[in-house]
Symmetry: C2
Subunit: 339 residues, 2 copies
DNA sequence: TTAGTCGATGTTATCGATAACAATTCGGTT
DNA sequence: AACCGAATTGTTATCGATAACATCGACTAA
């Protein structure tokens, strides 16, 4: 398909306004000293011609960019999309445009995205910390010419700044919750732990905290099912078959926890009296209409905001710290009605 | 913050491999006839130097791009993120990278995104059809130099191709469902209809189909609350106060329907025996663990795939049709247990 | 009057690649 | 030996902007 003819360039605007290219460039960027009259003429000419600047040329020439690359594992996961909202809300008013890529938790896809995005020489790059990073990705990042920020993970301090919770703290928090209540037959239910490294670290922290108290954590996980409600339900069924006397379960996330909850409800186990259930993320707080799940609330939007603020600081060369640890809060639910 | 020194360019690779810039360019793009030995040397030199092509320069020079711009209203809305998955899955294997922007249903934000993305001269642009489009946006699109595709809306055929359902058909489908069952006290519950034009058209189609059967649709909507479960619940409460004898409700989407459902369950109204409830999207099919809501299923992933396929065709100049209408299916639920 | 200053605009080189075409090499023909 | 065409590699111009500096006139100060 072929679309209209002539592309309007600075030169065309300059000709129409009766000035040089440079003057047009300055007017449109709001740079330099240009008289009011000339500004008016140039703007009018640009409008009349419908001039659209070519960012490829502009950024190439100035070696500056207003684009920020963001790579997250999954767009449909509300967790990441809320982090993204925080990023957008902070960057957009400052004139920076975010470009989003989805890695699907796949290291190769992430690598390709990093390559593609860096090849546009962005003003900054924000990456999710949860994915395993390929050697190629590491070396691309090592040679970057813009600030890089790690999201969602504050334990692994790889780049210029990190914003996210300590997943190890999260694991300990949940362990403490169970131990305080004197629970001892504790299980963990999760999926795709090999892909989602953060979840993996929460799991390990839970396991070792419990081990320190002489408790052996029973983990029911699988790698080939999605980290969603249906899987939570399915694995909980398995768990209850294997060990019907379990009295506490920590789920990888809230979605899986709600799935598990529905099964526990169905077989008549009272939550939290007979069995304690804890999710992760706090997404259920916003979504649930009746069921209030006990969960670890993570300030998702704020993580995005802090990351974006850090980026802005780095772009403007301001001095700064190198990480922001998101506060975690264990929120008690009222789970008597299953979903 | 200042990041390392020298940026590696084609010239550096050329020098190290002992060939000209042009040869390096050809090798790395896989173009032209280059001897195996030269290819080897060039690739090795590029690897050793850690060369990363500068897409700004490349695309500027060739006036070609491998980037595809996608603008959706909301990233956290699972509906759009599933469309996106279909797009990504189709384009990525063909070497096209998608860059995503979030318009938040705001015409000005959408306009700025269109401007920013077009100024990178992408290979194509995919836009959601649901948002009102500003005059500026229209004129930017009119002057585009790449194919443009409209997503999620097949009624308004503005661009080079449209992929999505007919929202008017959806409204009629729901009307038919109610009428077949002899229901006559019918209500509609929705939010932000001014922003989401597609929802608005579904609503109007429902209203006029019912009017044709002599039925007056009662609409309970508001503009200042999110299109989510809590709002569905809240508006359903209002509705039931205003008109307790209502026997059918169509909700803007599944999330709102589930919110409404929980309230109906709470006040003891049996669904679907006493009152019929229909959602929209079919997202509940995947998410619900126990509650199966009656809903209009939209093939979200497939919409993304069809749109991406059309784009690929246009890029390669192949002849083509100008729209794909997504099939809709009204799926019966088993709603006896509220969420 | 004359240099100095400032504001407004223009000139030239450059950013890092690719297109289009030119040049070279080389084995095979006649 | 001279020539030819295919395969390979190089040269030059260009993409559309911006940086850095040059210019020019008007106005001020000595």
């Amino acid at each position: 398909m072929s679309l209209r003819g002539k592309v309007i360039t600075l030169q065309d605007v300059a000709a129409r306004a009766g000035v040089s290219r440079m003057t047009v460039s300055k007017v449109l960027r709001g740079a330099g000293n240009i008289s009011a009259e000339t500004r008016r003429r140039v703007k009018q000419a640009a409008d009349e011609l419908g001039y659209l600047p070519n960012n490829l040329a502009g950024s190439l020439s100035s070696r500056k960019s207003r684009m920020v690359a963001v790579i997250i594992p999954s767009i449909s996961d509300i967790v990441f999309s809320e982090v993204l909202s925080g990023i957008n809300a902070t960057l957009r008013p400052r004139g920076l445009q975010t470009f989003i890529g989805e890695s699907l938790f796949e290291p190769e896809t992430e690598t390709e995205l990093i390559r593609a995005m860096l090849s546009f020489r962005p003003a900054g790059i924000l990456l999710n910390g949860g994915t395993a990073r390929s050697a190629d990705a590491e070396s691309l990042l090592a040679r970057r010419t813009c600030p890089a920020i790690q999201l969602w993970d504050c334990d692994r301090r790889a780049l210029d700044f990190s914003a996210g919770p300590s997943h190890e703290e999260a694991g300990r928090l949940v362990a403490g919750h169970f131990l305080e209540r004197g629970l001892r037959r504790i299980a963990y239910v999760g999926a795709e732990l090999k892909k989602d490294l953060c979840a993996g670290r929460r799991h390990l922290a839970l396991k070792s905290s419990l081990a320190a108290a002489g408790i052996d954590l029973l983990s029911v996980t699988c790698e080939d099912r999605p980290r969603q409600a249906v899987t939570g339900r399915f694995l909980t069924e398995e768990l209850m078959r294997m060990r019907p006397d379990v009295d506490a379960i920590h789920f990888l996330n809230d979605a899986m926890a709600l799935g598990g909850l529905s099964y526990l409800h169905e077989i008549g186990l009272a939550v939290p009296d007979r069995i304690s259930v804890v999710g992760f993320n706090g997404t259920s707080l916003a979504n649930a209409v009746r069921t209030r799940l006990t969960t670890v609330d993570v300030p998702r939007t704020e993580i995005g905001e802090k990351a974006a603020q850090a980026l802005l600081q780095m772009i403007t060369e301001a001095p700064m710290v190198d990480s922001w640890q998101a506060p975690l809060e264990l929120v008690q639910g009222n789970t008597t009605v299953a979903i």
